[in-house]
């Protein structure tokens, strides 16, 4: 009986705190994305448009490790019985990718263009039944200064 209550308690804490944390993270992502909207970022290998001769180029990086909460992991486990979209993991990878790209942009806010943006995702820990515990997203690009 105690074990059941413990599990329910974990699910409840995971759900409530996880939702609050996720919302505040999304608010911060949206605010910072709006601040950096002027920085042209592309995955193209060459600079876009007619540009003056660059004075400086550098490699910039941004990384972020994000873990999923207990409730969502539980729901995703249930989802595996029926298949279909696993919404709880969608928000996890979305948050991690946007955060990593934002960190990259914050590192070079004075740049004029960011080219050849690559995003790489890897799961760094696997829990019970090979479930994904947390993922790491690493974004890297070349910043150009005119």
């Amino acid at each position: 009986m105690f074990e059941l209550y413990f599990l329910l308690g974990l699910l409840l804490v995971g759900y409530v705190v996880g939702q609050i944390l996720e919302r505040s993270h999304y608010r911060s992502i949206e605010k910072r994305e709006a601040e950096h909207i002027g920085l042209a970022t592309t995955s193209s290998k060459r600079p876009i448009g007619e540009i003056p001769r660059p004075t400086r180029v550098e490699l910039v990086e941004g990384a972020c490790v994000i873990s999923i909460d207990y409730f969502k992991r539980f729901v995703a486990g249930l989802r595996q019985l029926f298949g279909g979209n696993v919404r709880s993991y969608e928000t996890l990878v979305d948050r991690a990718r946007r955060e990593a790209v934002l960190r990259l942009k914050e590192q070079c806010s004075a740049a004029d263009q960011v080219i050849n943006l690559r995003i790489e995702t890897s799961s760094i820990s696997k829990g019970n039944r090979n479930q994904v515990g947390c993922i790491e997203v690493h974004a890297y690009a070349t910043a150009i200064y005119f």
């Binding site: 974990l10 804490v13 995971g14 705190v17 996880g18 944390l21 996720e22 993270h25 290998k45 060459r46 600079p47 540009i51 001769r53 660059p54 004075t55 180029v57 550098e58 490699l59 990086e61 990384a63 972020c64 490790v65 994000i66 873990s67 999923i68 909460d69 207990y70 969502k72 996890l92 955060e99 080219i115 050849n116 690559r118 790489e120 890897s122 799961s123 760094i124 820990s125 696997k126 829990g127 515990g133 947390c134 790491e136 690493h138 890297y140 690009a141 070349t142 150009i144």
Partner: protein, 104 residues
């Protein structure tokens, strides 16, 4: 040393190629961090200790790659790629490779 992940450096000309250079590190997280991360797994969110760990590991691999390029007499590294793999439970390997060149 100039480092980019593009094939050529905008505004510069590649005059010599010295071949592939690479750097790698394998890092494990220490137990204290692992316990904290376990707690964080309940509520979700960013695991700052892991983020820092991976950033440190990348910096080290990066330095090793640059040292190798300097030894070859290059002044730039182009087409840099990163890769991460988990070699054992709790340890991950960071591998960085690129092409050492001389630019003018």
């Amino acid at each position: 040393m100039l480092v980019t992940n593009t094939e050529e450096i905008p505004g510069k000309q590649i005059v010599a190629c010295h071949g592939v250079v690479s750097g790698s590190t394998v890092r494990a997280k220490h137990a204290g961090r692992d316990i904290l991360a376990g707690l964080k797994n309940i509520v979700g969110g960013e695991l700052k200790a892991y983020t820092e760990l991976l950033i440190e590991a990348r910096e080290e691999a990066h330095e090793r790659m640059q040292a190798q390029a300097a030894q070859l007499g290059a002044n730039a590294i182009v087409n840099v790629r990163f890769s991460t793999s988990s070699v054992a439970a709790g340890a991950s390997e960071i591998y960085i490779y690129g092409t050492a060149v001389t630019v003018r």
